[in-house]
């Protein structure tokens, strides 16, 4: 089957495709969230060490995963942009950044709320927390750079370079913080050493898919808005029924 995938590199053909995908991923996210929260709050047993508090992992862990994953995806679109100079890649990277920053923020916030009852502190200079905080700064940097550059094409390419430099740096930052942390604090705080209950793991995985689907849906909604904004002079936009209404 000769699937002509590059066809969708053009905003004019990707716009309707994104439109049909949004409800699928949006509703998928809603259904998966319902299942995941049900698994997490009704089915999964109470943790013998932490009690009910641990249940925040069903939000915390998926958001932390997504925060890192989305940065890599953003850098991937940046590489595509620099390599093939496709307009859509820059728009996708632009659309991903705010969701990535949101996920990072949620991970930090829920981590603080979890840390207070379990470690007795909202913030510890733990390796993961510190590198997550730096990741948030990296997202802010990319968003701020785009805001500062008025012209979208230049902003796309500049953000692509920055996100690629960032993606090389993220593992270095993570390990540097980790080694720094072990030097300074000795044994670091660990949530649970015990193996996880199957239902806990299932709930966490389902919630991860829910967050993933949510991210895809929101990014697609945003990329459609970006397309309309940037290509407002183009003929295909003028022909859209929702524009002419």
């Amino acid at each position: 089957m000769a699937l002509n995938w590059t066809r969708f590199a053009s905003p004019a053909s990707f716009y309707p495709l994104a439109g049909t995908m949004i409800p699928w991923f949006g509703w998928g996210a809603a259904v998966l969230t319902a299942i995941g929260l049900w698994l997490g709050f009704a089915v999964a047993p109470t943790d013998f060490q932490q009690g009910e508090v641990y249940r925040i992992i069903f939000i915390h862990v998926p958001s932390a995963w997504m925060s890192m994953f989305l940065y890599v995806v953003m850098a991937f679109w940046g590489a595509l942009l620099l390599g093939f100079n496709t307009r859509l890649s820059g728009m996708m990277a632009q659309a991903i950044a705010p969701t990535g920053a949101l996920m990072t923020f949620v991970a930090l916030w829920t981590g603080a709320l979890w840390g207070r009852p379990t470690w007795g502190t909202y913030w510890a200079w733990d390796a993961r927390m510190t590198s997550e905080l730096i990741l948030l700064f990296l997202y802010f940097g990319i968003i701020a750079l785009r805001q500062a550059i008025g012209e979208p094409r230049r902003a796309d390419r500049a953000c692509a370079v920055l996100s690629l430099v960032g993606v090389v740096n993220i593992p270095i930052i993570y390990y540097s913080v980790k080694w720094w942390n072990t030097l300074h604090q000795g044994a670091s705080v660990k949530a649970t050493g015990a193996s996880m209950e199957t239902t806990m793991l299932a709930g966490m995985l389902v919630m991860s898919f829910a967050f993933w689907f949510y991210a895809i849906a929101v990014v697609l909604v945003r990329v459609r808005a970006i397309m309309l904004e940037r290509e407002r002079g183009a003929a295909w936009v003028a022909g859209l029924p929702e524009v002419n209404r």
Binding site: I134, R153, N169
Partner: protein, 244 residues
């Protein structure tokens, strides 16, 4: 004025039979930027003074207790080195960009990556190197012992080139942006400086803890090698984007 005057030299040099581009371009860029830096010595002096003043502020903000200062010293000296590097970054490209010289440089037959590497080397020679050489004097104010001072300087010598190299990418990305781009540059670059800060200050910490600094210094060296290979290309890409 003086900057534009030196540009024809590059065209002249490269149009000759000698097309051994990269090294010649690097050498040209280093000499040119060093010459320009020497003509504005006061600016360099001010940047070093900034470094000294930041370092002197910390003891004033707390009880200048000997052990506390010795514990904080490496970190403070490194943070000040980061800030001094950050403050001097706009000098790398901004004035060349403002008067159009950068465009001529990008058009020259030399590879842009080599020219940028030369500019970065000159930047390090005029900012990073003096900071590293000044550090022992300031370390005395923090009651650091001899071995710690030696490791601190070694770390600064390995780490400050990384700061200049990474900073070149940020400086190129923020060229000609609204609002000068000063605080934006800080937001872009300081998170990327984190590993250098950790390994640099960590080297002195581990010496003080009796662990030896080899691991940290090796990691700084590895980081320098990686930055040397990667950042000139990223910075050249960023300069081309800014000139588009």
């Amino acid at each position: 004025m003086t900057m534009a005057a030196t540009v024809p030299a590059v065209v002249e040099a490269a149009s000759g039979a000698d097309q051994d581009g990269a090294l010649a371009g690097l050498r040209w860029a280093v000499t040119r930027d060093l010459r320009l830096a020497m003509r504005s010595r006061a600016e360099l002096g001010v940047q070093l003074l900034f470094y000294v003043i930041v370092v002197a502020l910390f003891p004033l903000s707390m009880t200048p207790e000997r052990n506390l200062l010795a514990t904080m010293g490496p970190g403070v000296l490194w943070v000040a080195a980061l800030l001094a590097s950050l403050l001097s970054l706009p000098r790398l490209f901004a004035s060349d960009h403002a008067d159009g010289t950068l465009e001529q440089i990008a058009l020259s037959p030399y590879p842009l990556e080599a020219l940028i590497a030369g500019k970065v080397l000159a930047h390090w020679l005029t900012t990073g190197l003096p900071v590293a050489l000044l550090a022992p004097l300031l370390a005395l104010q923090y009651y650091l012992d001899g071995e710690s001072v030696a490791i601190l300087v070694a770390g600064l010598l390995l780490g400050t080139p990384i700061l200049s190299l990474l900073g070149a990418v940020g400086a190129a990305l923020t060229l000609g942006l609204r609002g000068g781009g000063g605080s934006l540059l800080a937001l872009l670059i300081l998170p990327l400086y984190v590993p250098v800060l950790i390994f640099g200050a960590g080297a002195v910490d581990s010496v003080r803890a009796g662990l030896g600094a080899t691991a940290n210094l090796s990691l700084l060296g590895a980081g320098l090698a990686l930055a040397l290979v990667g950042t000139p290309f990223a910075a050249a890409a960023a300069v081309r984007i800014a000139l588009d």
